[in-house]
């Protein structure tokens, strides 16, 4: 029997709604701002931290040690999945991959930005297999170094991969199948290696990786960034070692020039720019978590679709874990005469849910455009305003994953002691109940964090709307008139309420 987690209690729901009302009133009353706070704090200037931060980012040994740890864990996942017990809650492959890594990854973005990409085992293994070096630059680099076809040089491949991964995760149910989890892990290594062996630099990370791009886009909201210490030094730089690399350091894997870097979306935190910069001009900095999405990030149409896609997919994750989703699928399956895993019904349900979010967004954008007097093309509004989707998706993603992490992450210690689950029986109902009550943090703390995250997402989305909306109003020839952005504010309210409603429902446990 699969159990459900209790949803967010009404009291906490009301707290979130109260916060939304206050923030909405504030957004309506106060005039639109001219610019966001660009205050940053360079970590290399902190007296006690300075030395440590410099050592961490400049020494390849630390990064190599971390990569080794994650590669070992990753290989253990593959081994356990292929050779271990197929009981999902007893096998390390499913528990570590889906309950810990997949659920927890998003929290690493919240604190550390794209740090995961720096230690990603898919890329590390690909790098070792193709370059045949542990960390130093390989010359020749053993790659065909072909250019990625122009049509693929967008975010679309990553979005399609993310949709495919969601289908595998929620439709086919690889989250409860250790063998399939191991097979998909192997597939990702094959894809990363093939891409590295065929295309120049790390095209997989830049264009194809669904995890990397999700992490990258969410990290627009991270409080950390890797940026030049002094922009003038970069402007005067003639060698561009950050882009081309030096004798020992690989070039930037994702074609970024540090002097022009404005957003985290494609940075993999590999630290190559830090190592290769001859002027020691690259450093980690603390910043306002919203500043990039609010004003720095450059709007692009394909990226807008990715952000809307993230919003649709995160909502769908929650929706597909509601008990009523089963009833819907059951009714659809009856119409389609579907049987077995009901995959056709699931697929229709999944694409229908995603299309609904896109249509609702487009509708609200069209309404905003109408109020603006049709002075700005629809495509431009669609692209520029898509940034509001990012915090909404991020906040709900974290709130939803927190449920998985703190309720289903219990028992990981025991699984580490017997990663293959050898000789283990499935969890009995008593054990499932016991796990249910032994959460990593208390249930009240969980609810408080979830409510806080919803308010956080709403607050950042409102900020983005106010800043980006002002620029669009100016472009449409309006000096003020923030009421014209009311439909988009309505969209932010609507999506937050939808996410809040999802959170307040009982959610089916993953395993």
């Amino acid at each position: 029997m699969i159990m459900t987690h209790p949803g967010l209690p009404a009291l906490w729901g009301m707290v979130v709604i109260g916060g939304m009302v206050i923030l909405t009133l504030w957004a309506v009353i106060t005039p639109l701002p001219a610019s966001a706070s660009a205050a940053v704090y360079n970590l290399t200037r902190v007296p006690l931290l300075r030395g440590l931060v410099r050592y961490l980012v400049s020494s390849p040994k630390i990064l190599l040690a971390l990569k080794l740890v994650f590669v070992v864990l990753f290989l253990l996942v593959i081994y356990a999945g292929l050779f271990g017990s197929q009981i999902p809650e007893r096998n390390l492959a499913t528990l570590l991959t889906w309950n810990i890594w997949w659920a927890g990854l998003i929290f690493s973005v919240f604190f550390l930005g794209t740090a995961w990409c720096a230690v990603c085992p898919w890329d590390t293994l690909a790098q070792w297999l193709v370059r045949r070096r542990l960390w130093k630059r390989a010359e020749p680099n053993n790659s065909l170094n072909l250019r990625v076809p122009r049509r693929l040089r967008t975010i679309w491949p990553a979005l399609l991969m993310f949709i495919a991964l969601t289908w595998l995760e929620l439709g086919l149910g690889i989250t409860t199948n250790p063998y399939a989890t191991a097979a998909v892990s192997l597939l990702m290594v094959v894809m990363a290696t093939s891409s590295l062996a065929i295309f120049e630099r790390k095209a997989f990370c830049r264009y194809f990786c669904p995890v990397g791009r999700t992490v990258g886009f969410y990290s627009q909201l991270a409080p950390v960034e890797l940026r030049p210490i002094d922009t003038q030094t970069c402007a005067d730089c003639k060698t561009l070692d950050c882009y081309y690399g030096d004798r020992n350091t690989e070039p930037c894997p994702t074609w970024l020039v540090m002097g022009r870097l404005k957003q985290n979306s494609y940075c993999t935190s590999c630290g190559n720019c830090v190592s290769s910069c001859p002027n020691d001009n690259v450093a980690w900095r603390l910043r306002s978590p919203s500043v990039e999405a609010v004003q720095d990030a450059r709007p692009r149409h394909d990226e807008a679709w990715f952000m809307i896609g993230l919003l649709a997919l995160t909502g769908f994750h929650g929706l597909s874990m509601m008990p009523f989703w089963e009833t819907w699928m059951s009714q659809l399956a009856r119409v389609l005469h579907d049987s077995g895993q009901l995959l056709p019904s699931f697929t229709i349900g999944m694409f229908g849910s995603m299309a609904a979010v896109v249509l609702v967004y487009a509708l609200f954008v069209a309404a905003t455009r109408w109020l603006m007097g049709n002075g700005v093309p629809f495509r431009r509004l669609f692209t520029h305003l898509s940034f509001v989707a990012l915090p909404l998706a991020f906040a709900y993603h974290m709130a939803h994953n927190l449920n998985h992490l703190v309720r289903e992450g219990v028992g990981i210690g025991a699984v580490f002691l017997n990663p293959l689950g050898t000789g283990m029986a499935p969890l009995s109902m008593m054990e499932k109940h016991a796990r249910h009550f032994h959460m990593i943090i208390s249930q009240d703390s969980l609810f408080a964090i979830q409510a806080g995250l919803m308010v956080f997402g709403f607050w950042i989305a409102v900020q983005i709307l106010r800043h980006r909306g002002r620029a669009l109003l100016v472009a449409a020839g309006h000096r003020g008139g923030s009421w014209r952005l009311a439909p988009m504010l309505g969209f932010v309210v609507l999506m937050t309420c939808f996410h809040l409603w999802l959170l307040s429902q009982p959610m089916m446990m993953r395993m």
Binding site: G173, E326, M429
Partner: protein, 203 residues
């Protein structure tokens, strides 16, 4: 304030009570162990077809070749909740690629305490498709479900990944070597041409 607290308590109670009415994910295998009975761990799948909601359980959860196992199938009408009472035919076929062997009939079962029970013994480990077939209202109902006998073989994914990586790395390496060789030959020809042009100029 007291009423508000009562309201919150009621909502929480409803949320907690909802967890008691939990069920399987349709079409997804679930492994369970009932500590209150002496039955071994079982694999259970719930699905539906047409007007019927179907539940099947496999004992033991991970059957092995040469060891007897059992399938319990339960079908009830979605509209009126009544169980299906006719005959159910069970067949098994190999689920490997390019397999042309005919499906083998496991048996025809009549209802017994609302359940159709089909025993089986497979000679070899492998992936099989079990088909449960019945007729109702003049329409055939076919439910296919996969059954794994023995531990799944790790050879498939490992071999595929190994072959793919080998092909990419060796293919890439050969291509690269050829390209370098071609560049070297071109450079040599270029040098030769410029050298002979210089010599002609001198003479």
């Amino acid at each position: 304030m007291k009423r508000f607290a009562q309201f919150v308590f009621a909502i929480t109670l409803v949320a907690l009570a909802a967890s008691a009415s939990a069920h399987h994910v349709l079409g997804r295998p679930a492994y369970s162990l009932n500590e209150d009975s002496n039955t071994p761990p079982s694999m259970q799948v719930e699905t539906q077809i047409g007007n019927y909601f179907v539940t099947y359980m496999v004992f033991p959860a991970f059957p092995r070749a040469g060891e007897p196992g059992r399938i319990n199938l339960y079908a009830r009408n979605i509209d009126n909740g009544k169980p299906f009472t006719g005959n159910v035919t069970f067949t098994a076929r190999d689920d490997t690629w390019f397999d042309t062997a005919k499906p083998e009939k496991l048996g025809v079962q009549v209802i017994d305490d609302n359940v159709f029970r089909q025993g089986f013994v497979f000679k070899h480990d492998g992936d099989y498709i079990i088909r449960a077939e019945f007729h109702d209202g003049g329409e055939p109902y076919l439910i296919d479900f996969p059954l794994r006998i023995g531990q799944p073989s790790p050879v498939g994914p490992l071999t595929l990944a190994g072959v793919a990586l080998f092909a990419v790395l060796v293919g890439g390496s050969l291509f690269q070597r050829k390209r370098l060789q071609r560049d070297r030959i071109r450079a040599a020809h270029r040098d030769e041409r410029s050298h002979s042009t210089r010599e002609e100029g001198v003479s």
